[in-house]
Structure formats: C-alpha cells, structure tokens
C-alpha cells in the first residue's frame, strides 16, 4: 500500500510540475482563439465557454464514477463492495442516462440553432460606421486583397479601421483555401468560380495573424497574412498613400500574380483592373471565351 502511495505521490508531483510549466509558458504566448479582438470572435469565444461548461455536466460524473468503481470494485480491495455477477438491468438507471444527456443535448441544440443564425458569417454587422468592402482572392500561394472603393489592392496583408465592419467577398483562383483570422472571426472557404462572404470587425488596434486552413499545394505553409487594425484616420491616410505610390494592378500584372509562387513580403497595388474580382469568378464559368484566356481548370 505504501508503495502505491509513494507512486501516487511521484505521479502527482510530475503532473503538477508539468501543469505549472505549461501554465507559465501559456501565459507568455498569444492564444488567438482565447483572446478575441473583435465582436464576432468574442461571441464565438463566449459560446465556447458556455458549451464547454454544459458538457462538463456529463463529463465530470463520468470521470468520478470511473474512478469510484475501479477503486471500489477492484479484486484485491479488502473493502470491496458486494459482488453481484447477474445484476444486468435497471430500468430506472438506464432511463436516467438516456434522459439526462438527451435533455442536455436538447438545451445545447437550441443554443446551437440560435448561435448558427446569430453568427452566420453572411449576416451584416450592426454599427454606426459604414462597412468597408474587401474582396479576397486566394492564389497559389498568396492572398490578394482588393479594396474596390479605395481602388487599391494588397498582397498578404491588409489594413482595416478599428470598430468598423468589414464585408469580405471571397473566392479562389487556385485550389480550395480557407480564410481564417482567429482573433477576429472564424473561417470560411474560398473556392474557384464561387463567392463566399464574411463580416467581421476589430475592436482594438493591433496586428493579427491569419492563414489558410485548407491545404492548397507545395506553397501552402506560406499562405498566411497579417490583418492590421488602425484608427480610422490612419486607415484613410494609408489607403491614399498606397493609391498614390504603388504600381497599377493591370490584367498583365494579375496574370503574373496568379502563377504559382510564394510571396512572403507585403506588396501594394493601386487601381486594380475594373471588376477584377468578378472577372476571376466568371473565368471559371466560361473558361474558353473570356478576356483572361483559358485559365479555368
């Protein structure tokens, strides 16, 4: 028995040490999903906490019950409970564990249904500030961000004014990718020939890491970008300076961009070709007869 106790002591010490180390480490790093910086990611985080706590209602009894039965009914326990080899059924008990999880799941289902509507990525965000439109194109292997109203475009980063809804339209001119900016919102796929949408906003200034969550070829690991949230005035200044100082995003330039390559630095463009985003989508609709030539595959 003392041997068991000694072992238990060593094990608990080790577990404790590991937990402390992990705690110290984790308090020094950035954990985007748990540190939301925008209303959408924030609601997702609160939902996470709610669902986890309701799951614990079933999980904790399971753990306690497991520890109890194994400890109490092990063969070499001198104080073992009564042995009843033919006890195999109890209508009341079985009814209990069909019912309790069923009730719990019913409650969680209602939460799920409502949350699916409330956090529908296509749902416009309410705000006193007018939404800014950004069109996103995943390319092999870089992200193109087009600001149709500001008449600028960027590669692998974009700026957004704080506390302002951003309305993304997303597509792909490459394999399927998934646009994920965890501190601001969950992800959505980008698919060639199709358009998805996403609303998000940042409620504090900062630089946020985003990436593609869906494998898209050898340059996939370079499919990450930064979202830089700045004040409304500096956003305007930035957009103007990009428009003034950057080269044009002509169709020729775009055709170069869509060639497979990894660009790991930030690039700016001004005056993207008119309707570039729609042209990219449409090129997959009518792959032979369009201005871009045979691009669709």
């Amino acid at each position: 028995m003392s041997k068991t106790k000694k072992r238990l002591g060593i094990v608990s010490f080790l577990v404790f040490a590991v937990l402390i180390t992990a705690g110290v480490y984790l308090s020094h790093v950035n954990i985007p999903v748990l540190q939301p910086r925008g209303p959408i990611a924030d609601k997702e985080f609160k939902l996470l906490v709610l669902i986890v706590s309701s799951m614990l209602i079933v999980a904790v009894p399971v753990f306690l019950l497991l520890a109890y039965v194994v400890w109490r009914y092990r063969e070499d326990n001198p104080k073992r409970g009564k042995y009843e080899p033919d006890w195999e059924h109890s209508r009341w008990l079985e009814g209990l564990w069909w019912a309790i999880p069923a009730i719990l799941i019913t409650i969680v289902s209602v939460i799920t249904w409502n949350a699916s509507y409330a956090l529908n990525p296509y749902l416009p965000l309410k705000s006193s500030n007018k939404a800014i439109t950004i069109q996103v194109v995943s390319l092999n292997w870089k992200w193109l961000f087009i600001y149709p109203n500001q008449k600028i475009a960027t590669i692998n980063y974009f700026e957004l004014p704080v506390n302002t809804p951003i309305h993304f339209y997303l597509t792909s001119d490459a394999p399927m990718n998934s646009f994920w900016l965890p501190q601001l919102s969950g992800q959505i796929f980008t698919m060639a020939g199709m358009q998805t949408q996403l609303y998000l906003a940042a409620d504090s200034m900062g630089t946020y890491y985003g990436s593609s969550a869906n494998i898209s070829g050898v340059g996939f690991a370079n499919m990450h970008f930064n979202a830089i949230s700045v004040s409304s005035t500096s956003f305007k200044a930035w957009a103007l300076s990009v428009k003034d100082k950057s080269p044009n995003l002509s169709m020729n330039e775009y055709m170069m961009l869509r060639q497979p390559s990894s660009i790991v630095k930030n690039v700016n463009y001004s005056y993207p070709v008119n309707c570039l985003f729609n042209t990219i989508i449409n090129s997959y609709m009518m792959p032979v007869a369009n201005g871009m030539g045979k691009v669709g595959v």
């Binding site: 999903v33 009914y73 109890s90």
Partner: protein, 661 residues
C-alpha cells in the same frame, strides 16, 4: 524504333520515377527489402509449399483473420514511421530552419499517414478481429461466403501493395488523406500520386464491401440454433451495425473515386473548378462515406470493449438492450451528419444547424454506452489486467475527445476549429482511444484463444503506460496549438508564433509511443518464450462467457464439432454453470476447399490499378482479364467444398483434445 515501342508499352513509367532523395530511398529500400528477406527465409526453410497450402489459398476465416492482423501491424509500423518524420519536421521547421523534408515530400507523408492508418491499419485490425471472433461467437462452423471473404482480404492486400509501391516507383498524393479537388485534379497534381491513392483505395474499398456483405449474411443466417438476435454477444451486434454501414457507405467511396479517376485519366469534369465541375459535390460525397467510416471502425471496438468489460468485471454486461439500441441509433445517425466536416463552406445557418444538432445527438447513445460499461464494472469483481487498463484509458480520452467533438458540432465554434490542430487532436483522441486501444484490448483478451497462452502482463502494462503518456504528450499540445491558430499539414511556420515548444513536446510524445510499441513487440516475444510457464497457458484464462471460449485451442478448421446448445445470453457461462456434457454423435461437416482463385482475382486487380496509374493500357486489359477469368472459373466450379465424414471429425477432435491443455 524498338526503343520507342518499348517506351510506349510502359506508359508514363520510366527510370526517372525511382526515388532520388535520401529519405524516400531509405523507405523504398525497406519496402523492397522486406519481401526479398521473406522470400529468402521461405526458400531456406523450404516453406513455399506450406505458405501456399496453409495461407495463400486458405478459405479459413481464422487464418484470414490472422493475415489481416499481420498486414495491419506491418502497415502500422509504416504509419508510425510517417509520424516520426511529420513530428520531427514540425518540431524543427520553425523560422529560418526548414527541417528535414521539402514541402511536397512532407505533404505526401502526411497524406500517406492518414490513408494508411485508416484503410490498412484500423480497417485491417477490425476485419482481422471480426474474422477471428464473429463465427465462433455465434456458434457457426464458417462464414456465409468463405470465397468472398478470402477475396475481400486479398483485395485489401492488393490495395496495400499498391500504396507501398508508390513509395518505390513514382510518388504519392500530396493532397491530404481525402484528396479534395481541385487540388487533387490533374491541373494542380499532375504526377501519379493521386492516381496511386485512388486505385489503392478503390481496390481495398471493394474488398471491404465484400467483407461487409459476407459478415451481414454470416450474422443473420449462420447463428447457431437457439441464438436469437437478442441473445447474441454484443461484439457480434456491433459488427452487424458496422457491416451495414460498410455496405451502405463503401459504394459511395467507390463511385466518388471512380469519378475522380475519370476526371484525371479521361479529362472529364465531375469535380474540376470549371466546365461545370463541382468540387463541393466531391466534398459531400467523400464525407457521406467518410463519416460513417468513423463509426465502421469504432462500433466493433465498442463491441470488443463490451466483451472485455464484462469478462474482466466477471459480471454480465449491464443494460444489454440499451446497448443494442444505442448501436442502431449510432448507425442511423452516422449517415445524417456528414456536413459537419465542412460547416465553413458557406451553407445557410439552418443547414449547418441541422447537421450540427444531428451530430450532437450521437453523443446521447454514446453516453448511454459509457454509463452501461461503468455500471458493468459497478458491483463487479474487477480483474485489473491490461485489457481493462486500455478500457479505463479509453473512457478518459474518449470523453475529452468527445467534448471537443460536441464543441465542433456547433457551427460557429467549428469556424474557429475547422482544419486546425484542435481538430487533429480531436479525431486522434477519438480514433486512437476508440479504435486502436479497443483493438489492443481485444487482442490481449482473445490472444490465448488462438495461440493457447496469455500475453505477458507486466510488459503489457509497460506498453500501456508508455502509450498513454506518449499519446497525451503528443495530442494535448495539439489542442493548445489549435487555440493558437495553428492549422494542419504545415511543413513550416514562423518562429514568432510561439508554436515550437509545443511541437517539440508533441515530438517527445512520439518517442514514448515508440517505446510503447517496442514493449508490445517485446511482450509478444517474451510471451512466446514463456508460453509453457505455469499460469501462462490456458484454454479459458478469463473465465469467458461467450461461445468462442468453449472451443479447443487451436480452433479446429470446422470450429464446432458439435453445434452448441444456446438458450441464454453468455451462452458458454450457462453451459459451464449447468456442467453440461455433450455426448451427441459427431456428424459429417462440409468445409470449403482451398483455392488460388481469390489471390488471382486480387492479382488482376493489382495489375489493373497499377496499369491505370501509369497509363499502361495493355496491362489494364491483362489485369481485367485475369480478374474476370478467375471469377468465371470460380463460378463454373460445382464442387467448391469437401465433406469431412463423422469419423474424420471424431479423429480430429481426439487429436485436438490431446494437443489441448
């Protein structure tokens, strides 16, 4: 002229396709060396005839079961080697370091790991154990369709061979294990990698379908007289559920892969980005197979846990009827949840919410099973041996993984977890604890039935602790990495993200898992060594409750000389308690003849698949004709069985009794 003709005969195949980089070369030489070493060993020991007669042509479900497990263990080692490379790469490739592999190679390894572990390890262990146990548990002398069963195994083997050939000649898919188009289309994956993936799974998948048909018929039609469905052991029940899923799900896989092959080989446009192709259709179809596949693997393992818990608690299984209904609830629900694999595709909230809620409902029957197991232990007399250790670990890990699963069933939360390492941690927790640990427990439990001695307990426990610690070290950090925004299949990441320490911990976890595997092999060797020691060799070491334990070891080819009399659950326990002595006269028994046709059908399929990969059209024809001819020859055979007379049976029974302990 002659040279170009020769080149045409080889399709796209050329010497350039042999491996060039050192890592692949090592892997490839292993793949080549193993069969050569085996061949030399067989020649030296003059065992070719033995191999042919006893194994290659056998129709005996017990031998087929053992062959499934041997293939699965070998493939498990390959899958583990893949993991070592993946974990090493991700632990190293941060910031300026690019690790040991280039991106394409890394992605091929990740894809091969997933494909091999699901199709050739988990499925192989599952079909192996089903083959060994189900006919014995239901008191049957054979499976319903022994030839179909053997052919299913050899097709599984052919698929396995094809995926391993890809390591030596050409390359493998670098697309992830489910090869989503358009990445898996010719435009973005022009090499033969995806074709290897397609044809390997196509062939193995048809084999699984055959096995599924066979075991549904076996369980429904071959039960011994008196064993009503509701008296059937729970392992057989869960196999029945699982095999129904196989029969409904695998045709979807076969068709989906065929359409993708048509896209790649004949320039069609089922799933391409343009010309009317639709990648979303592929994603729907592959998961309409893929989600039931999870339950195909998990249900028989649940069944094995039911047997193990009852045997080691020395008690009847609690809540039998609930358990059966829970299985069927899971079977039905598993077909209406597939969309939860792509909530992020932009479906409307009601569609997402429906599939999310259906997914959560599966937690109810699963929870019922958990509580019933725990109450089987309650008021028991627990024989705390390794199978029960695996079960306890399963309950803890599966509950944590299951909670993560419910989280991801909420669509807005899935937006934050989809394709992140959180997801990777979740499904490994479900599949490793729910499937692999279950089959480890099953193997430890049923091993003495087939080999006549127990596995060494102490080494088994060492293996268990290494596995469990390694597993937690490898996957708990992945949950955290998911929260930190790390996505799956990354061959490189920037140092500023702070991910590297966690990846290093995960890599250390793999070291422990390897130690666990080493202990498992040691356990086998030491157990064989000590097989005659006192207390090791046993006919019925766990005081078994079901019919398989009533048989001599090794089990005779016809299983039951006298068909058992069954009127209750735990039929063998009832026989033992009643001290029944069966003196009925022996009767003649029909058993299937050995035939090489199963292996020929699979050989044809292998050639067909290999030739399709490389566009060697004459070989496609040869492979096709081999398969079709073998099927025709078999269909013409009017005497596929032979009869053992009652006297022969009596003689064999005598010899078994003398050999038995």
């Amino acid at each position: 002229m002659l040279l170009s003709l020769f080149a045409n005969l080889l399709g796209k195949l050329s010497l350039k396709q042999l491996p060039h980089d050192p890592v692949t070369a090592v892997g490839a030489s292993m793949i080549v060396a193993v069969p050569i070493l085996l061949a030399i060993l067989l020649t030296v020991t003059k065992r070719w005839k033995w191999l042919y007669r006893e194994w290659l042509t056998t129709q005996d479900h017990k031998k087929i079961g053992i062959m499934y497990i041997i293939v699965a263990v070998a493939m498990g080692l390959r899958g583990l080697a893949d993991v070592v490379l993946v974990r090493a790469q991700q632990a190293l490739a941060s910031g300026n370091s690019h690790g040991i592999l280039n991106a394409s190679h890394f992605q091929q390894i990740v894809s091969a790991h997933g494909t091999i572990m699901i199709f050739f390890v988990a499925m192989g262990l599952m079909f192996g154990i089903i083959n060994l146990i189900v006919p014995l548990q239901i008191g049957s002398r054979d499976v319903a369709f022994p030839f179909l069963n053997a052919t299913g195994f050899w097709l599984f083997f052919a698929g396995m061979a094809l995926i391993n050939v890809s390591l030596v000649i050409g390359d493998f898919a670098a697309t992830g294990w489910l090869a989503y188009p358009p990445l898996s289309e010719l435009a973005y994956s022009p090499t033969v990698g995806v074709d290897y993936w397609i044809w390997s799974l196509e062939i193995a998948g048809i084999g699984s379908l055959m096995a599924g048909v066979n075991f549904i018929a076996t369980i429904l039609k071959k039960r011994v007289k008196g064993m009503k469905l509701m008296l059937m052991p729970l392992f057989s029940w869960s196999v029945l559920g699982s095999m129904f899923l196989v029969v409904f799900a695998f045709p979807i896989l076969t068709v989906t892969l065929t359409l993708l092959a048509f896209d790649r080989t004949f320039g069609m446009h089922f799933f391409t980005s343009s010309y009317g192709g639709n990648m979303m259709m592929y994603v729907n179809l592959i998961w309409a197979w893929g989600h039931p596949e999870v339950y195909i693997l998990v249900l028989p393992a649940f069944g094995a846990y039911s047997e193990v818990v009852s045997a080691f608690a020395r008690k009847r299984l609690f809540g039998y009827t609930s358990m059966v209904w829970a299985i069927w609830a899971i079977v039905v629900l598993s077909f209406i949840v597939w969309l939860h694999h792509f909530f992020t595709m932009g479906a409307s909230p009601d569609v997402n919410a429906f599939f999310g809620i259906m997914t959560m409902i599966i937690a109810v029957p699963t929870g019922v099973k958990l509580f019933n197991w725990l109450f089987t232990l309650y008021k028991g007399k627990l024989n705390l041996k390794t199978p029960l250790y695996w079960f306890i670990a399963f309950v803890v890990v599966f509950t944590i993984g299951g909670m993560a699963g419910v989280l991801m069933a909420v669509p807005p939360l899935d937006f934050q977890f989809h394709n992140s390492l959180f997801l990777v941690a979740h499904f490994h927790m479900m599949i490793v604890s729910g499937v692999l640990f279950g089959y480890f427990a099953a193997i430890t439990y049923w091993f003495p039935k087939f080999f006549g001695f127990k596995l060494n307990e102490r080494l088994g426990r060492y293996a268990f602790w290494n596995w469990l610690i390694g597993f937690l070290l490898a996957f708990v950090p992945l949950y955290i990495l998911g929260f930190m925004g790390a996505t799956r299949r990354l061959d490189h990441y920037s140092a500023s993200l702070g991910w590297q320490p966690l990846f290093i911990v995960a890599a250390i976890g793999v070291v422990f898992i390897i130690a666990g595997v080493v202990f498992q092999f040691l356990q086998l060797v030491v157990s064989i060594w000590q097989r005659n020691n006192e207390g090791m060799s046993h006919k019925d070491p766990w005081d078994g409750r079901t019919l398989e334990w009533s048989l001599p070891t090794p089990v005779p080819i016809y299983n039951f000389a006298r068909l058992p009399i069954v009127s209750t659950r735990d039929a063998f326990m009832a026989i033992k308690k009643a001290k029944l002595i069966d003196n009925r006269p022996y009767e003649p028994i029909e058993i299937p003849k050995n035939t090489p046709l199963s292996i020929l059908i699979a050989l044809g399929a292998f050639l067909f698949g290999f030739a399709f990969v490389w566009h060697i059209w004459w070989l496609v024809v040869v492979g096709f004709i081999t398969t079709v001819l073998s099927i025709i020859v078999r269909s013409m055979d009017e005497h596929p069985t032979r009869l053992l007379s009652a006297k022969q049976v009596e003689k064999m029974e005598q010899s078994y009794k003398e050999a038995a302990v």
